[in-house]
Amino acid sequence: MEALVELERVKKHFVIRDGILGRRRRFVHAVDDVSLSIVRGETFGIVGESGSGKTTIARIIPRLVNVTSGSVKFSGIDICRASGRELMLARRRMGIVFQDPASSLNPRVTVAASIQRPLQLAGLPAKEARDRVREVAELVNLGTEVLDKFPHELSGGQQQRASIARAIVLRPEFVILDEPTSALDVSVQAQVLNLLLDLQQRFSLTYLFISHNLPVVRYLCDRIAVMYLGKLVELASTGVLYREPLHPYSLALLMAAPPPDPKMRNRRRFILTGDPPSLTNPPQGCRLHPRCQFAVERCRVEEPELRDYGSGHLAACHRIGDLDLGFAM
């Protein structure tokens, strides 16, 4: 198994200023000491709390933001130290679908021109580029009449499909998908998911897939990382994570998704209680402890380490030995 992307002890701290004239400086620990590797050909999912650093990781890999410390490798290339040209060539091998679909489309040009842009930059002749645009638009089920429109004339789902088209038009080997289906209806979502699977098989693509939609993540991903407040708290293959989650936060995520059945409306919900924690001043010990119903004294003082519980199932929680979370599912 060859790793295509490797993050080692990556940290990213953003500075925020406040107080009078912004003289007080504080740090948001957006990504805090995360190591993970994405194997060639797999779909690697990241789920987690909103604001836990998922998008930041997605932006770190093509170096759209610089890391504070740690190392990032893409296909052996040290992204943090790559020269401008190396970086450009590496980026060409990656496609990115951003979380806000509108932001990857230029508002002043037509959708076709936006999708064509990466091809032009890569020096493809105009005629060939136009054919490729039409081909890729068909792949994502975007009608040709939509191609000549401007982004603001598109519905949310159409914008999202257009940005997927743009991301895959260069036939990259690695595609970062940040909430790529959140604006899609379930049928178009199904088409896009099936499309992603087909593309993956045909071109042996590797995906980094970020989503809040757990059934979708389960459907698509081979392995899943769960993040909470800048930390990786659990990593496992999909089947294992859904069958035997080890971390209380993973359990909360799995249990909180409302099932598409109105009769289950009043089901027992396992919701995290308490306020969402501060990001500039995260809780001591385990970051989940103020909201965790399993917390004991040790959780308040000592930060749990990420440990391997067998065949690459990693989790960071003090109480894994004592708890059997499977019961709660």
């Binding site: 909180a256 598409p260 995290l272 306020d275 990001l279």
Partner: protein
């Protein structure tokens, strides 16, 4: 039955584009009672956001409302002049937009924008600021005091969404329109936001029109559902009835397209065929080219809306119409 707060009837919206008119909303009728939650679901691009924007009369140009009535609390909003309409926006009816970046101004701090909204009700600035912090806390924004001072680009996608939700509920509107309000939120926060909306409707009798692709959210919060396809409402009804006995073939397929397991177990059922082109709809039922159950009549005559019992409607030749009598 509670009084109707909103009654939309025969709504028509058209965009005049260079490639011809796009009929984004075609004869849509529905109503919402006080304290009721109606969910609109449907194909991407079928006119849900446009329907919602029509209620506030905010359809962007070249779009135009070409027909119908939108009666809010006894007043047809389409008859009002722009100045009186302004009285309704924000205070009576407010809207959470699909894309938070549209609603949030990038050059102002997020808390300031909520404060501004509250101040529109003649609340003094310091009290408005406290109200803003309070509402940001209610929408579960972490570190509300800090985050209130952040610019939108410094927030994560889900935080921006929560700031917008806060801004829109800060004035306790009577009708809240929420276009995909929880797509950027993780499910634990989503659950808390749904609870918050549910509280508002019970305590403040707020009505909610929620647009979402997440059928789990619909099942969780809606009293009734409307399913849209190609600009028209093809099915409406009580949420349990629609989920258990969907009548329209599009609704039936929609419920089947949900992922329910890992990929190696099954391939997702998507609805075959392409999304219809709203500037050039097929004759007859707009769904017929993709419908596996179509009849001969389906490609010729567009079905009318049939009311099965009060509050339960469907627009399909399989139900009612000639074929119904022949069976």
């Amino acid at each position: 039955m509670a009084a109707k707060l909103l009654e939309v009837s025969g709504l028509e919206v058209q965009f005049d584009t260079s490639s011809g008119p796009v009929r984004a909303v075609r004869g849509v009728s529905f109503d919402i009672a006080e304290g009721e939650v109606l969910a609109l679901v449907g194909e991407s691009g079928c006119g849900k956001s446009t329907t919602a924007l029509s209620i506030l009369r905010l359809v962007p140009r070249p779009g135009e409302i070409t027909g119908g009535r939108i009666v809010f609390d006894g007043v047809n909003l389409l008859d009002l002049d722009e100045c009186s309409m302004t009285q309704y926006r924000g205070k009576q009816i407010s809207m959470i937009f699909q894309n938070p970046l549209v609603a949030l101004n990038p050059v102002y701090r997020s808390g300031f924008q909520v404060q501004e909204a509250v101040m529109l009700d003649k609340v003094p600035p310091d009290r408005a600021w406290r109200a803003a912090l309070n509402v940001l806390k209610q929408v579960r924004l972490p570190d509300p005091e800090d985050r209130a001072r952040s610019y939108p680009h410094e927030l994560s996608g889900g935080m921006r969404q929560r700031v917008m939700i806060g801004m829109m509920i800060s004035r306790f509107p009577r009708l809240l329109i929420a276009d995909e309000p929880t797509t950027a939120l993780d499910v634990t926060i989503q659950a808390q936001i749904l609870d918050l909306l549910d509280d508002l409707r019970h305590e403040k009798r707020m009505s909610l029109l929620i647009i979402t692709h997440d059928l789990g959210v619909v099942a969780d919060i809606a009293d009734r559902v409307g399913v849209m396809y190609a600009g028209a409402l093809v099915e409406t009804g009580d949420v349990t009835e629609v989920f258990e006995k969907p009548l329209h073939p599009y609704t039936q397929l929609l419920l089947k397209a949900l992922p329910r397991g890992p990929k190696n177990e099954l391939r997702l059922e998507s609805i075959p065929g392409g999304v219809p082109n709203l500037s050039n709809l097929p004759p007859g039922c707009p769904f017929h080219p993709r419908c596996q159950r179509r009849l001969d009549i389906c490609s010729k005559v567009e079905p009318e809306t049939l009311e099965i019992h009060p509050g339960r409607t469907v627009r399909c030749h399989l139900v009612g119409g000639e074929s119904f009598w022949k069976r």
